[in-house]
């Protein structure tokens, strides 16, 4: 057992030496890059949110201005216990909000969305964050695949939030109505919520 102890010590020290070198290397790389990385990440986040609200319509850091939604609202919007609303400000004034939302009844399951709404209730943008719609069929709702989602930009609050087939305003792709229907319904819920909560939101409360 003496031998084991010696061997253990030797291995431990060698390993520690390598660990030290590796860590120094890593830490210095990190130091060299972390500012750039953070900037990149912020930009990415901003870009994501910016697809929900047009650039130039706000000047604050949205991610830093997130409020948790009340539980009942979260239940309604995302069918979960927690969700956030991001407050966009222009010159310190509330200029719009971005809501986390979800459509539970997509063809392949939940569709996670960000819905941007201007101060006056106009829908400014809808961005699909994640979905499980059938590739090649229902995935047209994703901006990466088709510009379908852009049709929501600028739609007034009192639009008929339903696919045309059901008598609404939303375009859809025949053979994959469900996906469009699900997104439309989710946007409708957001719009409704905003209208009911507009006053409170203007005061920075969800």
């Amino acid at each position: 057992m003496r031998k084991a102890a010696t061997q253990a010590r030797r291995s431990a020290i060698t390993l520690a030496a390598f660990a030290t070198t590796a860590t120094v290397l890593l830490a210095s790389t990190w130091l060299a890059t972390h500012q750039q990385v953070e900037a990149n990440e912020a930009a990415t986040r901003a870009a994501l949110l910016a697809q929900a609200l047009p650039a130039g319509s706000f000047d604050n850091d949205l991610a830093a201005n997130a409020l948790p939604l009340p539980r009942s609202v979260a239940q309604q919007l995302v069918q979960r216990d927690a969700a956030k609303v991001y407050l966009a400000r222009q010159h310190g004034q509330l200029s719009g909000v971005v809501l986390e939302a979800a459509a539970p009844n997509g063809y392949g399951g939940r569709i996670e969305l960000l819905v941007g709404i201007a101060r006056d209730g106009t829908v400014q943008g809808v961005r699909v964050v994640s979905h499980r719609e059938t590739p090649g069929l229902g995935d047209y709702i994703d901006l990466a695949v088709s510009p379908w989602a852009r049709q929501f930009a600028g739609k007034p609050a009192d639009s008929r939030w339903a696919v045309k087939k059901d008598g609404g305003d939303t375009d859809y792709i025949s053979g994959a109505t469900i996906s469009a229907r699900a997104v439309s319904a989710a946007v409708a819920r957001c719009s409704d919520y905003y209208r009911s909560a507009q006053a409170r939101l203007l005061q920075g409360q969800p």
């Binding site: 009844n105 063809y107 392949g108 059938t134 090649g136 053979g175 994959a176 469900i178």
Partner: protein
């Protein structure tokens, strides 16, 4: 003269077996043609020609004798079963591509008849539904008023004569309609089934086709060409999932009868799970294989992403066949207990 250890043999051949399978498909084909029109025959023809051509091409490449392989007719069985699973009015290139994948990828890459672990027809079908879900979801309405020339025009040019409704060529299948309806919410199964698409037993016209498949299957069984275990176990698997669900929440889940008469359930029971090559061969293995296919069909139909799941259920279980076979070896004469992995 060749000298074999056994000097006499029954006068059966693979070609004869396959011919009988084709014959057993005829009643179903007849009803299909009655329901969906002559487009079905076009699909069958296209599939057959493609299958034979593909098989010949591969064999030629491999410098193998072509004629005997074509004469065993197994490629035709594959082609027919595939054609019968595809939308009857699908575009011509769809059945061609599907058959190519079935024969080349599903069968010949493994060395041809007898070597393929997966059901070739189902390989072809799965490739298509994954690649072209939209086109694969569009079925013609049964008994739709679309004449032969209009069907041909649709299949080959993707256009319709003036005045024909697109619904006649691109309505969804009952399974799809039900699934969509339920997803949309607001209506329960009973209400949904009132739609004309469902007819009396849940599939206007389609139920007769299904029953004709069953007839063919029974004849095959009577001819001792298929074992009873696999199909029966499959139907039992369908019941084992659909019945409790239906009893539990009839508003959300369709009845077992609906599952039996819709989609490819009975076609599969008679002709697809019974594919001897890709199926299990041990007695217990056949029961497990069939039962699990039945279970998966309903589970994926009800909870999964595909309205009809026969192809995937069969492929998933094909994958498990060698393992099942190895672990369910029957007891050998004189030996204790079975199974030895």
């Amino acid at each position: 003269m060749s000298r074999h250890a056994t000097h006499i043999a029954q006068p059966v051949t693979v070609s004869r077996v396959m011919l009988k399978v084709l014959a057993a498909l005829l009643p179903g084909i007849a009803v299909s043609v009655y329901c969906f029109g002559p487009g079905v025959l076009v699909q069958l023809l296209l599939a057959t020609l493609t299958a034979l051509g593909a098989e010949a091409a591969v064999l030629r490449l491999r410098q193998r004798p072509v004629a005997p392989a074509l004469a065993d007719l197994s490629a035709v069985v594959t082609a027919w079963l595939l054609a019968l699973s595809m939308p009857p009015l699908g575009a011509w290139w769809m059945i061609v591509v599907a058959t190519l994948f079935a024969i080349v990828l599903g069968k010949q890459l493994y060395g041809g008849l007898g070597n393929n672990p997966f059901n070739p027809a189902m390989v072809g079908f799965a490739v298509m539904i994954v690649s072209f879900p939209a086109q694969m979801a569009a079925w013609g309405t049964p008994l739709a008023a679309l004449d032969a020339t209009a069907q041909l025009q649709w299949i080959f040019t993707h256009t319709l004569p003036a005045g024909s409704s697109v619904d006649a060529v691109s309505s969804a299948t009952p399974l799809d309609v039900l699934k969509t309806g339920l997803l949309q919410g607001g209506q329960d199964v009973a209400q949904l089934l009132l739609q004309p698409r469902f007819g009396q037993w849940g599939n206007a016209g389609g139920e007769w086709v299904a029953l004709a498949w069953a007839l063919g299957g029974l004849w095959l069984w009577q001819q001792k060409l298929i074992p009873w275990r696999t199909p029966l176990a499959m139907l039992a698997g369908v019941l084992a999932v659909s019945l409790p669900l239906w009893l539990w929440q009839p508003a959300h889940y369709a009845s077992p009868l609906f599952h039996l008469l819709n989609g490819a359930t009975l076609l599969a029971a008679g002709f697809i799970v019974t594919d001897p090559i890709s199926g299990s061969t041990t007695p217990l293995g056949r029961l497990i294989f069939g039962f699990m296919v039945g279970v998966l069909v309903v589970v994926i139909r009800v909870f999964g992403g595909f309205p009809d799941a026969v192809a995937f259920a069969v492929l998933i279980m094909n994958m498990a066949v060698p393992f099942i076979d190895q672990t369910t070896q029957p007891r050998v004469f004189g030996r204790k207990g079975g199974r030895h992995a």
